[in-house]
């Protein structure tokens, strides 16, 4: 809820800055949402570590799920701006490190063995928390991140998805969609609306469509065909929007750093 409120507050700022303001100002405002998201993930990871230290596995599982919320929303920027930490925190498939290494133990038969990995997760998220406060962000890089994540949400999850051990893959996808929604609204929506109202409405409708398709009770109820179409329609709209936003065509894969 706090995050939604923050997104809205930033959108209000973006509205005020829409005419003639450089997009960099909006980017700096969006940085606050990034800090909020990673802060939530870090806080959750610390709770996870503390619960594991107490052998309180029920609350450790809750904390793991909680930490994932902020993390999945942050995937708009993690793969493009911090690929090294993205891999360390969210390697897949990996039984030995990161969120999914912890997941395999915590939601399996050996939750007590996840302690060392939780320490490492906290350390990596703490490093990320520090880096995002000063790292250089660009509208193009964040635009690329929105597009890349929108594509990923459209991929089939018939095999159980990313977080299949904990059964929270649907949550991952919803949080990805929230991250897309927040970043688009805060960074680009107002400017696109001023430049091309019809296209802006189309993009906004496609974001809503994507989120609506994920508003189901369980992963297997997701209409995968429609989700793929919604994901691609959104990206096609964003590709058309790029020149209106003064951006280049979005990179579908980030160039190596």
């Amino acid at each position: 809820m706090r995050l939604t409120a923050l997104c809205f507050a930033l959108w209000v700022v973006a509205v005020a800055a829409a005419h003639g303001e450089p997009s960099d100002a909006a980017v700096e405002e969006y940085r606050l949402a990034m800090i909020e998201n990673i802060g939530q993930a870090l806080s959750g990871a610390r709770d996870l570590r503390d619960a594991l230290n107490r052998q309180d596995f029920i609350n450790a599982r809750k904390a793991w799920i909680g930490a994932r919320v902020g993390w999945e929303r942050s995937e708009v920027f993690t793969s493009g701006f911090v690929p090294d930490l993205d891999e360390a925190i969210d390697a897949w498939p990996d039984a030995n490190a990161g969120f999914h290494g912890i997941e395999a133990k915590l939601f399996g038969a050996d939750p007590a063995d996840a302690g060392d990995q939780a320490d490492a997760l906290v350390a990596h998220l703490a490093e990320l928390d520090a880096r995002i406060r000063t790292m250089q962000l660009t509208p193009q890089g964040l635009f690329n991140g929105i597009v890349r994540l929108a594509y990923e949400v459209g991929d089939s999850k018939v095999d159980g998805g990313e977080s299949r051990v904990s059964g929270t893959s649907l949550d991952d996808m919803r949080n990805n969609a929230d991250g897309i929604d927040c970043a688009y609204r805060d960074l680009f929506a107002v400017k696109l609306e001023a430049a091309d109202k019809i296209l802006a409405d189309r993009v906004e409708d496609d974001v809503k469509w994507l989120k609506a398709l994920l508003a189901v009770n369980e992963l297997r109820s997701v209409d995968a065909d429609s989700l793929r179409k919604a994901s691609e329609a959104l990206i096609v709209g964003l590709q058309a929007a790029a020149p209106e936003l003064g951006l280049s065509a979005p990179a579908l894969e980030e160039a190596a750093k």
Partner: protein, 455 residues
């Protein structure tokens, strides 16, 4: 087939077997559309080789055949759970052959069998009992009427429609789509077998054991002189007689072909037998043939030779994947100018899925199984995603009636798919899941993750 006079086929068969085993990875988890433990064998690094009669004769696949192949591999053709799980006709009939590893708990008794009247895929067709049947190869199907394990349907077209609508809960297919699927199936040829000559007789290369087996095959049964194996499996007629018989397996069932049958196990209508030796043992018992151990071995040697084929499998890789995608996409050459929105939508949907699956063969930076070739993998993934989005724009333009825009987009798609993209993919192939070592590492890591959760 393994022959005593050369080791090459043994090495090839071992390679094929190890690749297939290494790639196996059943569905896992409680959130999946299919039950946990389902095995579709979609990760296999080798696939049955598909030979088209039109191409083998020096011609080319027609528009109809390509459209049929496309529809055959389109989950959108089916309905309900199958569609949601991404299952198409091609999932069970890989490259028009069978899928001996296909297994769905509750619907399969043995791997390679499937209950088409079970509750999961079409509750309306659920007959209330467990009666899985063998998934047949479709090679040479144009010679093998009637259709179905019990030969209950005379027309291939009617049979295909029944599979789509009743067994897999799909919507009523357009007549043109049905015609195309029939054209595709009828173009799938038997693989060549150089051990057989005219009239299905053994050639001069046959061994003594195989010749003794051939003599046993045509020898009258001791207690029924009008019958022999060859009475039903007519060597000059693709080893079938187009009739149903009761051979002591629980009812009347169609005579199956023996051509290419080395690659069609399990055997019998319900897949109860894994080997020719078991099949021969069954007939020996039921028809009281009085075969000695040596005669049984000779008969198995003969069946193995009859069922053999030239290069039964082919290695999956960038080349094979892109050729299939390019063949599927060719239907747009005709469909866009014809403003055929149904076919355009089918092509966009199916090729889109294929491209996304191909993208997953190139692991991203978060996969611990591979560290090299990161730039090459990124370029490959980016190029494939670009094709997906171009395809999506083709679909969006066509559905809006903007066929000129769709044509322009398709021209660019085709140029990229035929030239730039293959080069980018080949440059990244050594770091992709097409590399057995990378594939083993990737699925090994996934298996370890799931085993950690399960132990």
């Amino acid at each position: 087939m393994i022959r005593s006079w050369t080791l090459a086929p043994i090495v090839a068969a071992t390679l094929v077997l190890s690749l297939r085993l290494a790639a196996s990875f059943p569905v896992y988890g409680q959130q999946t559309v299919l039950p946990a433990g389902s095995e579709l064998d979609e990760q296999a690094l080798v696939a049955p080789r598909e030979v088209f009669r039109s191409e083998a004769a020096g011609g080319r696949k027609s528009y109809l055949v390509n459209l049929g192949d496309l529809a055959f591999n389109a989950p959108a053709l089916l309905g309900g759970v199958a569609r949601q799980a991404g299952i198409s006709c091609g999932t069970c009939h890989v490259n028009g052959a069978a899928n001996p590893k296909f297994f769905i708990p509750g619907l399969s008794r043995h791997a390679g069998t499937f209950d088409t009247t079970g509750p999961l895929l079409n509750p309306k067709a659920d007959n209330g009992f467990f009666d899985p049947v063998r998934i047949p190869s479709l090679r040479g199907a144009r010679y093998l009427a009637p259709y179905g394990n019990d030969g209950r349907i005379a027309s291939l077209r009617d049979f295909v429609r029944n599979v789509i609508v009743n067994e897999f809960a799909g919507p009523e297919p357009p007549a043109a789509t049905l015609d195309a699927i029939v054209a595709y199936i009828q173009d799938i040829d038997f693989l060549r077998n150089f051990s057989l000559g005219p009239a299905g007789r053994l050639t001069a290369r046959a061994s003594d054991a195989e010749r003794r087996g051939e003599a046993l095959f045509v020898r009258p049964f001791p207690h029924d002189p009008d019958m022999s194996c060859a009475t039903c499996h007519v060597p000059s007629g693709a080893f079938v007689d187009h009739r149903q018989h009761d051979v002591g397996s629980g009812g009347l069932f169609k005579t199956p072909t023996l051509l290419n049958a080395d690659f069609n196990a399990p055997y019998f209508h319900d897949g109860r037998f894994d080997s020719y030796d078991q099949v021969v043992g069954h007939f020996n018992r039921v028809f009281d043939l009085g075969l000695s151990t040596g005669e049984r071995q000779d008969l198995v040697a003969y069946l193995t030779t009859v069922g053999d084929a030239e290069r039964p499998y082919e290695r999956d890789g960038v080349g094979a994947a892109l050729k299939e995608i390019a063949d599927f996409a060719t239907v747009l050459d005709t469909a866009i100018p014809a403003h055929d929105t149904d076919v355009i939508a089918l092509a966009v949907d199916t090729v889109d899925r294929e491209l996304r699956e191909l993208t997953e063969q190139f692991p991203d930076h978060k996969d611990p199984a591979v560290s090299g070739g990161q730039d090459e993998r990124r370029r490959a993934r980016g190029a494939l995603k670009d094709l997906v989005l171009r395809l999506s724009r083709i679909g969006l333009a066509a559905s809006a009636g903007q066929f000129d825009a769709a044509s322009v987009e398709y021209r660019d798609f085709r140029n990229l798919a035929l030239a730039a993209v293959p080069n980018l993919l080949r440059a990244a192939q050594q770091w992709s899941l097409f590399n057995p070592a990378i594939r083993d590492a990737h699925y090994g890591a996934l298996r370890q993750m799931l085993q950690t959760a399960n132990k």
